[in-house]
């Protein structure tokens, strides 16, 4: 009896099988593989599995414990929902990439050592990029390229950090990183790139809105949350992360106010929401870490739901900019309803999932008397509700009539959204099963009158401000610069200018050196050359004299011996 089958193995086999199948057989496989994985996850027992030696290094493929299981469960659930949503897509490359990507993410979360983590980390990049490229536009190709390069840099940093870690500690086990020096920072930097911590976040807002409609669901769920898991495992209680996380929550919402593309608004809100988790990891208390895990779980569900709603709008209308949309509630009422469940969840309205997880992190901040962090984390939901619950909803589904007359989204899309919406609501109403899954015992109840009052006042008065400022908050036909400007815009121009300056400077210096060398060579030639002082022929007279001296000395020494 085999006591451990790695879920990733099923997914990789499934990914390899898909191109061989056609039509309804492939569709069946798309549902059966995630269902099998979920069944397998349900049978996982705590422990360490798949241990083996490789070049004298002890590797562990499967570490099943409370922390990894939070992420394994939600990855499994979202994989099934995402596949239902993508069922109508007839493109095996996307489907195989999605299965492989989920397999890599599960592999990374279950990895018990840093080398295994690194391998799956890289595998995530090369599988997920196809979910961007298969959109098939020039823009998506270039965004995918930039995505690939940034993550390649992150991978190199991780590998370098792992090598130095191995050399200093002699161990590859992936637990809290306690060694100081470059290993600590390199691994942290690699995790922060994937968690989209500013200023290393620009790849996310650049690439996700250009992904395929169904691919964005998997992207929004897996990469950043795998990074949150690795931060929880490796860097709990690092105070820098607390501050960066709190800044992230506001950075994301401010950029979302400016964005016009509906999926770019959602992408910036991934950064904002992951900020809560990063902040919780940085605080490092039991409550904060539980909150980070719970928020990762609920976030994956409601963010996927929001991406599914926005994706359905783009799929049915072909438009993705707020300035082109409006009044769709009449034609896509179910999409609107499900989207709003996601919007209320992410904003943290009582009875929806965000409320029971996000407030854990803000309460953890207040338990530690961290006033500034608390106020930052309390300001961010206002921005979340502003962009997701009000701005995007208003200018897409309500507001002015754009003249678009789309049909309702296909049944499989609605079903996937319905399942996600049900889970968002169910967790919000009855959070006990989620709390039971968390790494530490939970002593927390979000449903107390003080918290409900605070949250409702905060969000509803945000709404009041929104409607008073309605004419300022609409979409604008413009893009916003972010830190990707460094490698795309003026920064790229500056780089090219520096390159040109280096090239011409190099030429000039070479020329100057050659001039000096030539004049030196001239000098040498005049002294040592054919007519130089040292190369002149000597008169025979002096030769005769030297011979005489030599003979005389021989004579002298000959007599002595």
């Amino acid at each position: 009896m085999i006591d451990f089958i790695h879920p990733s193995l099923i997914l990789f086999l499934g990914a390899a099988l898909l191109p061989l199948l056609k039509g309804s057989a492939r569709k069946t496989a798309l549902l059966v593989v995630p269902a099998l994985v979920l069944a397998l996850i349900a049978t996982l027992e705590p422990g360490e599995f798949g241990q083996f030696e490789f070049l004298d290094m002890a590797l562990t493929l499967g570490r099943v414990d409370a922390l990894s299981m939070v992420f394994v469960w939600v990855f499994g659930i979202i994989l099934l929902i995402g596949m239902i949503y993508a069922l109508h897509v007839d493109d095996w490359i996307q489907h195989s990439a999605a299965l492989g990507y989920a397999g890599a993410a599960l592999g990374a979360v279950l990895a018990g050592d840093l080398l295994t983590l690194y391998v799956f980390w890289e595998l995530m990049v090369i599988t997920s990029v196809w979910l961007i490229w298969r959109r098939g536009s020039g823009v998506s190709y270039q965004a995918g390229m930039r995505y690939l390069v940034i993550h390649a840099i992150g991978g190199v940093l991780l590998l370098a950090g792992v090598i130095i870690y191995y050399q200093t500690t002699g161990s590859l086990a992936f637990d809290q990183i306690e060694v100081g020096g470059p290993a600590f920072w390199l691994i942290l930097l690699a995790f922060m790139i994937n968690a989209a911590v500013p200023p290393l976040h620009a790849w996310l807002a650049d690439a996700y809105p250009e992904a395929t409609i169904t691919g964005a669901i998997f992207l929004s769920a897996l990469t950043t949350k795998t990074a949150v898991y690795t931060l929880m495992r490796g860097y709990p209680g690092v105070e820098l992360l607390m501050w960066l996380g709190a800044i992230m929550t506001l950075y994301g919402v401010i950029y979302a106010v400016l964005a016009n593309d509906i999926r770019r608004i959602l992408a910036y809100h991934i950064i904002s929401q992951v900020g809560y988790m990063v902040c919780g990891v940085g605080m490092g208390t039991v409550m904060a870490l539980n909150g980070a895990g719970a928020h990762a779980f609920t976030h994956i569900l409601y963010k996927a739901l929001l991406f599914m709603g926005a994706g359905a709008v783009i799929y049915m209308t072909g438009k993705s900019r707020l300035t082109d949309l409006g009044g769709l509630y009449r034609h896509m009422p179910w999409t609107f309803l499900f989207y709003m469940v996601g919007a209320l969840s992410i904003s943290g309205f009582p009875l929806f999932s965000g409320f029971v997880s996000k407030t854990m992190i803000t309460e953890a901040a207040s338990l530690d008397y961290r006033a500034i962090i608390f106020l930052m984390l309390l300001m961010a939901p206002a921005g979340t509700f502003l962009s997701i619950g009000l701005k995007l909803a208003w200018f897409t589904f309500l507001g002015r009539d754009s003249g678009l007359r789309p049909r309702e989204a296909p049944a499989n899309m609605l079903l996937a959204m319905g399942i996600a919406a049900f889970l968002c609501f169910a967790i919000g109403v009855y959070p006990a099963p989620l709390y039971a899954l968390l790494p530490n015992p939970v002593d927390y109840n979000a449903y107390n009158i003080g918290l409900i009052l605070k949250e409702l006042q905060l969000l509803l008065f945000t709404g009041l401000a929104f409607f008073l400022l309605l004419r300022f908050v609409g979409g604008k036909n413009a893009i916003t610069l972010d830190t990707d400007w460094i490698y795309r815009g003026g920064g790229k121009r500056a780089t090219l200018a520096v390159r040109n300056a280096v090239v011409s400077g190099n030429r000039w210096i070479r020329k100057a050196i050659m001039i000096v060398l030539r004049s030196r060579a001239q000098g040498i030639r005049s002294r040592y050359g054919r007519d130089g002082k040292l190369a002149r022929s000597w008169p025979t007279g002096s030769m005769a004299m030297w011979t005489a001296i030599l003979l005389a000395s021989l004579l002298l020494f000959g007599i002595r011996t």
């Binding site: 009449r330 009422p333 179910w334 815009g489």
Partner: protein, 88 residues
């Protein structure tokens, strides 16, 4: 079930709904003033309606900061990056 029909009905009563919402918000603030806070950890705990004011002010600040940054530095035409793509 014709969800669109029900939504249409609700939207047509938009004015009434927003008045109801404003009423609810006023009630919330009143309750918050009456009900004593569960704990006092920060100076603002116990001030009735603090969250309401904070939410409103936060929203205004976020919009003002975002739009200000947008106008000053961040907004660019949608072709901004496209022009550079044929560089090298």
């Amino acid at each position: 079930m014709d969800l669109g029909y029900w939504l249409e009905k609700l939207v047509r009563r938009g004015r009434l709904l927003s008045l109801l919402m404003l009423g609810l918000m006023a009630v919330l603030v009143v309750i918050d003033i009456i009900v004593p806070p569960a704990y006092i950890r920060f100076p603002w705990d116990g001030i009735g309606g603090f969250a309401a004011v904070y939410g409103f002010v936060s929203c205004v600040i976020l919009i003002a900061v975002a739009k200000g940054l947008g106008k000053l530095f961040l907004y660019q035409s949608e072709d901004y990056y496209r022009e550079d793509t044929d560089d090298d």
